[in-house]
Symmetry: C2
């Protein structure tokens, strides 16, 4: 949920590299620990079933801005982010543990607003709030969410598993949330100069909705199951397409080729980015907060995947030696980079 709004200082050496470095020293003592770190969620096995866990902390003025974020939508969005990690393992969300820290800037009604958004999102994916803790913060609102999901071991998808010639798919469309964020930030600046100014968002509802109230893509997971498609690898797209595909390729030890013209984007996103003087492909590759799914499938699933609505094929997996590349509209091959990984 960070990407462009993240005043991060720990990202410098490549956040993904850093996490991998720290995790090297984590022992794995228990046979129930299946996937420890380095994927979208942790996997724990109990009596043959696998439970999937993702824990995230969201901090006011780092991960969200209450100037333009209604608390109810914030609750919904933070839950989507946490569930998104569970869905990215091809698991079905089942429970949420919530821990909220507030200062005296917040009253009980506000906590209730936040909770009602969290409950709405739980309702969307049919999960329960199984734990709730309330504590004090010095000033900012801090929300920690742990999402829990269930998966039959045979259906679990990790980032690892993609092989050469497989197709790279994504759900939904891209850069809309990022564009929505840019609009919100622009109007915030106007408001700071002139508090009487009315924000100008006419016709931009979709972009704002994608930033303020993104949906957990449980529909995609359910449709893949109905269509009997088991992806060979999967991750969620939270920091742009580039970050997501590099996560899959690094874990799977492969390269990739993406096609600029295949990156799905709505006309509204495209036009608005043009007005804002931003290259739309850069926004799709590196913009954040989409919370869509990216997965790879065997070529034999090419016809079958057409039955899953809202999915686009954007490229294919190569041998590692090919690197990570984008074929532009002008048929140029350019390398893909992502902020979280070192460029070496």
């Amino acid at each position: 949920m960070t990407g462009n709004n993240d005043k991060s200082t720990v990202k410098m050496p490549g956040k993904q590299d850093l996490l991998a470095e720290f995790s090297k020293f984590f022992p794995k003592e228990n046979s129930s620990t299946i996937v420890a770190t380095g994927d979208d969620a942790a996997v724990v096995e109990t009596n043959g079933n696998q439970s999937v866990f993702s824990s995230k902390t969201f901090i006011e003025n780092v991960h969200f801005d209450l100037t333009y974020f209604p608390l109810k939508h914030l609750g919904y969005k933070l839950s989507t982010v946490a569930f998104s990690d569970v869905l990215a393992m091809n698991a079905i969300p089942s429970q949420l543990l919530v821990s909220v820290a507030v200062s005296d800037r917040f009253d009980l009604k506000m906590v209730n607003e936040l909770l009602s958004g969290i409950l709405n999102c739980c309702d969307t994916v049919h999960a329960d709030i199984a734990g709730f803790d309330l504590t004090s913060s010095t000033r900012d609102l801090i929300v920690s969410i742990t999402a829990i999901g269930e998966c039959e071991p045979a259906l679990l998808c990790s980032r690892k598993g993609a092989t050469e010639n497989e197709l790279i798919c994504v759900s939904g469309d891209f850069a809309a949330a990022y564009t929505g964020l840019l609009l919100l930030e622009r109007e915030k600046k106007v408001f700071n100069v002139n508090p009487n100014a009315q924000p100008d968002f006419s016709g931009k509802d979709y972009l704002l909705q994608r930033e303020i109230k993104p949906e957990p893509r449980i529909d995609i997971i359910e449709e893949l199951r109905r269509s009997n498609i088991l992806p060979t690898s999967m991750t969620n797209v939270c920091d742009g397409i580039a970050d997501a595909i590099i996560k899959i390729c690094k874990a799977s030890d492969t390269g990739c080729t993406l096609f600029e013209e295949k990156l799905p984007m709505t006309e509204l996103t495209f036009v608005t980015l043009k007005d804002l003087d931003i290259v739309h492909t850069v926004a799709a590759l590196n913009g954040g907060d989409d919370f869509e799914l990216m997965f790879t499938i065997k070529q034999s699933d090419f016809e079958n995947i057409k039955n899953v609505s809202n999915v686009s094929i954007i490229g294919y997996i190569n041998d590692k030696s090919a690197g990570y590349n984008l074929i532009t509209g002008d048929n140029l091959k350019v390398p893909i980079y992502a902020q979280g990984f070192s460029q070496s």
Copy 2:
């Protein structure tokens, strides 16, 4: 872990009452959700086994003070706090999910120190770090920890289950951590006035250790199992004995009688509290950060419990109508109150 160091504003209407009020509206959609809220940890059932979860957020200058807290010990303590909730369900810790937020006041070496303390505590209870996330904070260190444990359904102990005439037991001794905190706060004040002053902690090691590096009482859980004692109810003592026994009594719909003279306390704690002009029983009843276990057993386990080292019987369960009472050393009956519950 809060108690006396907690600049809480949400505690006013009775934090426990508040949590119960919010939780009323949480639906329970999934059959796998066994215990949702209102106990020490959440319980989720998978294929006949029960997994136990507790999620907590700790914020610098609210829940801990880095002036006197070495990061390694902090990591150990926060893990103890999280595991303590799992142990309080009579479950065995298996995994930990960790999410750390730091600002540019912190470098990687400091994150490593914190992590090494967390890993040490995981080692104590034989649990794995199954998830690790690193993000940015505006200024303060924020640590969110989710502890996961396993339990056979027949062994699970909740706060509910105590019945009349059963014995109330606690592990360890009390008020030592609170006394240690008072000493640390006193020396901090001296230091703030005179930065050249050397702190005076001679002979107080045990008190400091109890505050700075409390141990997860997995030894008690293991000894209870070896002795074939299944407590009828259980909770952890994190905000004093009064808070813990009221949690058990409210959940079990009972009253209780505790004996002042039975409350376990070391001579060092007693003497130091006297020097500090604090009534030792008040400190045992309402001091925080002990992370000991409280549980009730049947009278028939009276002889058997003597085989479990480090456990004291401090009272017995009454009918609800008797209320919550302490029999003082002078044989007076006084009602017991706790901060987290409304007094009505």
